[in-house]
């Protein structure tokens, strides 16, 4: 497809505006229908599938994915126009991360033609949801040290091990699972990425309850699951290349520079807006307090600067002015901004952040967000790792000493 036959951004925007108004529900109204539902559950994911199918039927799904894989083959400018028009509508934003912006983006870069044609298209139709099986209880920042094993048996591999911190695995159909296929080479060289069916015997998914009361994250126990060799993504023993690409897409998605986010970032809607914070300040009797007003301004400023930074870095990575590692700049900024904003909201709300108001006995979200704020500086790669990447890969400072460098993985020292 050449640029000459692409629909103009303005025409696309106009069509999107009309279609959205005719076919989707305003978000506030949709929220009303689900009132009382605490957190996310199967129902919410089922709704996301339906909404995605609606988008697909209307011709507004997979905007920046290539046409041969079920997308529209349009540009980031089209996606942004759609996002601007779609603000305020109920959309399947849950599918943005990790299904589209991380998993499908990685498949697009790395998977076989067959996998791309089958699975990216199925996700765009709302028929498949993806999850990442990367971290393990003993392998977080040092992801290349994963110990889930994949042993070759004729035309397939047998997988066994445990994975953790996978978001909404309970609702997912397929996982991108990083496993070790060779134990006698250094850690990066013996890994392979598999596309694994989640709902099958031998895969047990357990939800983990977190401090904010949610049970979004899961741990999986994989026991002798057979995966066909055709489900290898990339090369056998070339899994680290795939994982690196996946981590890049994850940073882009978390930092707001991904071209595959349709609508908004799934977590953005959960943040308290500056005006909501101002409402809290009024309730706390601090509306005219210059200190509270300054804090609200800072809260609002961080949000806007985060967007401008993501634009700057995202554009520069696409043009080649900055290397892909620059996505750690936005990752670090947003991790720190979440921390600071949680602090500000607590300070402005005062006791109202810690105790329920007259509206009901529910614990105020501002207080919950404060105690759970590390979600923003751990999830999607810790801010410490972002600082390593910025200093080493962007600023070319010496890399940290690694005791496992060049050592066959089977001989690397492990803790208990």
């Amino acid at each position: 497809m050449t640029a000459a036959v692409l629909e103009s951004v303005e025409s696309f925007r106009q069509r999107a505006r009309e279609w959205l108004a005719a076919n989707l529900t305003p978000e506030a109204e949709a929220r009303g229908h689900r009132a009382g539902a605490a957190g996310r559950d199967e129902g919410v994911w089922q709704r996301a599938r339906e909404l995605q199918a609606t988008l697909h039927a209307g011709g507004f799904a997979g905007i920046t994915f290539p046409r041969e894989y079920g997308g529209l083959g349009l540009t980031l400018a089209h996606q942004r126009a759609f996002n601007a028009e779609a603000a305020g509508y109920e959309l399947p934003v849950l599918l943005n991360i990790p299904t589209f912006a991380i998993c499908c983006a990685t498949l697009l870069d790395m998977a076989s033609e067959e996998i791309k044609r089958e699975h990216i298209a199925a996700a765009i139709r709302g028929e498949e949801i993806f999850v990442q099986f990367l971290s393990e209880p003993g392998s977080g920042s040092d992801l290349a040290s994963v110990k889930t094993r994949a042993d070759r048996r004729r035309d397939s591999f047998i997988l066994s091990g445990t994975k953790i911190w996978s978001s909404a695995a309970y609702a997912a159909d397929y996982a991108l699972c990083l496993a070790r296929t060779n134990w006698d080479v250094p850690k990066h060289e013996g890994l392979t990425m598999f596309l694994v069916k989640v709902r099958q015997p031998g895969v047990e998914v357990r939800q983990i309850r977190q401090v904010d009361g949610s049970s979004e994250f899961c741990q999986e126990f994989i026991d002798g699951v057979e995966v066909p060799a055709s489900n290898v993504v990339g090369e056998v023993n070339g899994g680290w290349t795939v994982a690196s690409r996946q981590l890049f897409h994850e940073r882009s998605a978390m930092g707001g520079t991904s071209p595959f986010i349709s609508g908004r970032h799934p977590s953005k809607g959960r943040m308290t807006s500056a005006h909501e914070l101002a409402g809290l300040a009024r309730s706390a009797g601090r509306a005219a307090d210059p200190a509270a007003r300054e804090l609200i301004a800072e809260y609002h400023s961080l949000d806007r600067i985060e967007t401008w930074l993501a634009d700057r870095v995202g554009t520069a990575i696409r043009s080649g002015a900055l290397p892909p590692a620059a996505s750690s700049l936005t990752r670090l900024f947003s991790g720190e901004a979440i921390t600071r904003r949680a602090e500000i909201a607590l300070e402005v709300a005062g006791p109202l952040a810690a105790m329920s108001g007259p509206a009901g006995p529910a614990v105020p979200p501002v207080g919950v967000r404060f105690i759970a704020r590390q979600g923003g500086s751990l999830g999607g790669g810790s801010t410490e790792m972002a600082r390593n990447i910025i200093s080493e890969r962007l600023l070319a400072m010496p890399r940290e000493h690694a005791a496992d460098k060049g050592v066959p993985f089977s001989q690397v020292k492990r803790g208990r």
Partner: protein, 390 residues
């Protein structure tokens, strides 16, 4: 710097950087300061030839931008002034040139009178600056308006402005004044007053900055004619300057943020080099994770400061509705982070960083003065809250 410059903008950037590096290295600036001078007029004339003052002025009036977005181009030059800690009234002259160009462009009755000064500013032959700050550290330009009492055809000016950049070098002042309510027409006005006017005295103020001078301007019944008014309505009535003042303020803050971004860039660059060159316990400083992580923070703040500055430049250039808010967000962030970053770099330099000999204090002074002039971060945050109507 911007990561999306056009070829022409890159040329403007490299030409400016080369010229300033050869004409105004920090050693020359230090020597000028030692002689009690704030900048060199000959350098200024040559800079004018490079188009330093023409960017915010339309082509029809003798100006012209490189990209069609004059304010974006001007930030490229402002950044280089910061990067080289170059002296010279780039910000105030451009703000006055912008104000005059807007007035001439609007075909105000005094257009002809202002066109002459504008031409001399563009050529670098004259220096003009915006006198708008009240004494005692206020920051709202509107609060800085002195009294302009109608007298005959003209006005009689009484009052004091402080913190006027390049006051001692200015040939003319764009003076912010208010015509008292009792004598119609009322409201804010701006007037061009020559430095030689009777009753006008300029006293230099001591400043932290080694690269720029500031002064106090006192008006003891200075008499000006009706042609001095800038920004009058088409029927020649003064008092409608509030919008123009806001626009000039926005332009000034954008240029100031760009200068600060340039300061940050240079300081990070030479500090990065220092971390590589300086060894301790047999390893370069850059190999310590504590310092790597700290520098990663500084680099991130620097990118965010740049993103905010360019967002502000675009909002003002496009005259967007949220321009005032975006500008204040930029200044609140950049002003704070500029001093955070430079002072952290002083720490990373160890004892060397606190010597007079090392150039880092020249940049720290500039960053500090930039932080507290044209509104402190705290003052801008209050303005953001007001603008958000929270």
């Amino acid at each position: 710097m911007r990561l999306d410059l056009t070829a022409d903008q890159r040329l403007l950037q490299s030409a400016t950087a080369r010229f300033l590096a050869s004409a105004s290295p920090v050693a020359v600036t230090r020597a000028l300061h030692a002689e009690g001078r704030s900048f060199d007029r000959d350098t200024w004339l040559r800079g004018a030839e490079l188009g330093w003052m023409s960017l915010l002025v339309p082509e029809g009036l003798g100006g012209g931008s490189v990209s069609g977005a004059g304010l974006i181009d001007a930030t490229i030059i402002a950044e280089q002034f910061g990067a080289i800690a170059a002296p010279g009234p780039f910000l105030p002259v451009n703000v006055v040139a912008f104000a005059l160009a807007e007035a001439v462009h609007a075909q105000e009755p005094n257009a002809a009178a202002h066109a002459g000064l504008l031409k001399r500013l563009l050529a670098g032959e004259a220096i003009a600056t915006w006198a708008c700050w009240p004494p005692g550290g206020g920051w709202d330009p509107e609060a800085g308006a002195i009294a302009a009492i109608p007298e005959g055809e003209g006005y009689r000016l009484t009052g004091v402005h402080e913190g006027v950049e390049a006051a001692a070098d200015a040939d003319a002042f764009l003076v912010l004044a208010r015509v008292p309510e009792s004598t119609a027409p009322e409201g804010l006005t701006q007037l061009i007053v020559p430095a030689t006017a009777d009753g006008l005295t300029v006293t230099p103020m001591g400043t932290l900055d080694l690269t720029r001078g500031f002064g106090r301007v006192r008006y003891d019944g200075v008499e000006v004619g009706p042609e001095a008014v800038v920004g009058s309505t088409t029927d020649g009535r003064p008092g409608q300057a509030a919008d123009a003042v806001e626009r000039q303020f926005q332009v000034a803050v954008v240029l100031q943020c760009a200068e600060l971004v340039g300061v940050i860039d240079t300081v990070l660059e030479f500090t990065r080099q220092w971390l590589a060159d300086r060894f301790t316990f047999g390893r370069p400083l850059e190999s310590y994770q504590a310092l790597k992580h700290r520098f990663a923070d500084l680099a991130t703040w620097s990118h965010a400061a740049q993103a905010a500055t360019y967002a502000a430049a675009e909002a003002v250039h496009e005259r967007r509705e949220d321009a005032a808010e975006v500008v204040s967000i930029a200044k609140a962030y950049v002003g704070q982070r500029a001093t955070d970053i430079v002072q952290d770099c002083v720490q990373l330099h160890g004892g060397l960083g606190v010597t007079w000999e090392h150039d880092i204090h020249v940049y720290l002074r500039r960053a500090t003065v930039g932080r507290v002039t044209w509104g402190t971060p705290s003052q801008h945050r209050r303005r953001i809250a007001d603008l958000l109507n929270v």
